[in-house]
């Protein structure tokens, strides 16, 4: 279960990443941020963001046009 939810639907690159970073900054280590986005580029970008920052990408899925991510704060 996510500790915080971020609605990034309708936002284009790089806003989903910038908003996710801002949300993660306000969370504590181990907490989970759930994100919903509609930008198809966010799939590759969240993977790259997590591998670079050390935050863990717990899951990635899609439902229709919505891409869902769960990121655990490092």
């Amino acid at each position: 279960m996510a500790d915080q939810m971020l609605d990034a639907k309708g936002l284009n690159c790089p806003l989903p990443i910038l908003k996710a970073k801002k949300a993660l900054k306000g969370m504590t280590a181990g907490q989970v941020l759930a994100i919903e986005a509609t930008d198809p580029g966010s799939v590759a970008d969240f993977a790259a963001f997590c591998s670079q920052t050390g935050n863990e990408l717990l899951s990635q899925s899609s439902e229709g046009d919505v891409y869902k991510f769960e990121i655990k704060r490092s």
């Binding site: 309708g10 936002l11 284009n12 690159c13 806003l15 970073k21 790259a48 670079q52």
Partner: protein, 167 residues
């Protein structure tokens, strides 16, 4: 709590920003803010036509003039913006409005928003002192937190950076 050894290993990037039209303002601000979000230390050096991007009030223009490859999506297809259209008076302003509307519709951030994100994420912003003098800009008309510097200031940073871009 603060692990300084980690900070010493932080990646760094510098960007020289030389162009201040609406379209050219995007690449440096998108890359700068995204890099900062990925824990990269970012320095942006604003010089020549890039310097006005630091003015408190922005009214960025866009012109299809000299951009032969430019196409705008229109009625399911694309329409080229030939140079002759760009030469008509008022077209620059109209193209700017069209571009801003298109960006809003597609959820693309405004330059103002990206610049604010850059400041918030501690991107180091340097205004070129020579350009300031040359074009008679007043540093008081620029956003807060701007540092003044020249080529040597940039070089000192660039020599230590993992990535250096000129845009």
């Amino acid at each position: 709590m603060l692990d300084t050894s980690d900070m010493d290993n932080a990646k760094s990037m510098s960007i020289i920003v030389t162009k201040g039209s609406l379209d050219w303002a995007y690449p440096p601000f998108i890359l700068g803010t995204t890099a900062a979000a990925m824990d990269v230390d970012v320095t942006m050096f604003f010089t020549f036509y890039g310097l006005p991007l630091l003015k408190k009030e922005l009214d960025l223009k866009f012109t299809p003039l000299g951009n032969a490859a430019m196409e705008m999506p229109m009625m399911g297809g694309h329409i080229a913006m030939p140079n002759i259209v760009g030469m008509l008076p008022g077209v620059g302003g109209m193209a700017g409005k069209m571009m801003k509307n298109l960006m809003k519709k597609k959820g693309v951030a405004s330059i103002e928003d990206l610049r604010e994100a850059a400041v918030e994420s501690d991107v180091r912003i340097i205004a070129c002192q020579m350009t300031l003098d040359l074009f008679e800009y007043d540093v008081n008309d620029m956003i807060d937190g701007v540092e003044l510097g020249g080529a040597a200031t940039y070089m000192e940073t660039a020599l230590k950076s993992d990535i250096n871009l000129f845009i």
